[in-house]
């Protein structure tokens, strides 16, 4: 092999390497990167929706400012995930005791057609008294879910329907900034420390 050929060969390898690196960057960090799978919810201050709580009061994201909040989506015709989530949350609230007195805990229905204000009021009454149940119109429900980056979908079953929905629990600080998420997947014992951190942050900010 002549020196000239060696040079050409070396240049080709260098170009190939640079190209591979560029393609890698493009696909991982560059414009070709896939969208992150789960987007973070907006701050509560940037959300806009209006609902009715279990007491008949008009509520919205602004009602949650001033105290840390825990928000999750579900529906009362859900036999498994929703009662489990509500029971888990009731358990965490019991464990945290007095510390949660100032916390907003909100269950938003993704099935307002069946989950009327009365239905929500009855349903939440079986769980921890701090848990509120919010119900809105279909349009407001869609706006709320968009703000939280939550998704839901009506699925037909035998002559009936069920709802697929985001089962995560969203935590916000007193200013309405998104703080943390409790996934349905994760071991439930990780939840209380996450809630405690949000509560501790709220205390630091006020003191």
């Amino acid at each position: 092999m002549s020196r000239r050929n060696l040079f050409t060969y070396g240049a080709a390898v260098t170009v190939a390497l640079a190209l591979a690196l560029f393609i890698g960057w493009w696909r991982v960090d560059g414009p070709g990167a896939p969208e992150p799978v789960a987007q973070r919810p907006l701050p509560l201050t940037q959300m806009e929706f209006q609902m009715t709580d279990q007491g008949g009061e008009t509520v919205g994201p602004a009602s949650l400012l001033g105290n840390p909040s825990m928000v999750f989506f579900g529906f009362t015709y859900c036999p498994d995930v929703c009662p489990t989530t509500l029971s888990d949350i009731s358990g965490w609230l019991d464990d945290l005791g007095e510390a949660v007195a100032e916390m907003n805990v909100v269950f938003i229905t993704v099935d307002p057609e069946r989950d009327t204000v009365d239905a929500m009021a009855e349903y939440v009454s079986y769980f921890h008294p701090a848990i509120q149940g919010w119900s809105g119109t279909l349009e407001e429900t869609a706006r709320a879910a968009e703000g939280f980056r939550a998704s839901y979908e009506k699925v037909a079953t035998d002559g009936d329907y069920t709802m697929n929905h985001t089962a995560s629990v969203f935590l916000f600080d007193a200013e309405g900034q998104f703080a943390s998420i409790i996934d349905y997947h994760e071991p439930r014992e990780f939840a209380a420390p996450k809630i405690r951190r949000v509560l501790a942050r709220a205390e630091e900010e006020t003191s």
Binding site: V37, D80, V81, P83, D88, E122, Y126, F127, A167, S168
Partner: protein, 154 residues
Amino acid sequence: MKSTVAAIALAFSVFVGLPTTSFAGSEDIVVEDAWARASIGINRPGAAYMTLRNTGTDPVTLVELETPLAMMPDIHETKTDANGVSSMGPVGEITIPAGESVALEPGGMHAMLMRLQTKMVEGETFPLRLNFADGGTLTVDVPILGIAARGPEG
């Protein structure tokens, strides 16, 4: 005292776990920790949970559920995807491998009780019949706990 309670509990679990007839395989199934949540009225579907233990040497397949409580009882499974979205659907048959257990528990599989005929009242029980592929059946008396129950202990 404690042993008396244990003996009664054991006697009861043997009683509820006794198959009605003798078939290949399904007589080796023992049902443990069965429980259900109370319902609000009859419009919403109910859910029941339990552990199916196969004490035998052959796999056993559960094919169907029957109960006077609900017109359409079926085994359903909740799945949660990478985006945190939960969905639920029928699982069809469940095979319990020899010597192993299959748990129906919150967030996983459950006996979905669709079209309730009566309200599920806390403190009561209801019979749930399990039909197996070998033709054997097993009727379990499922205790109904509170709506906010988290497990067989309440």
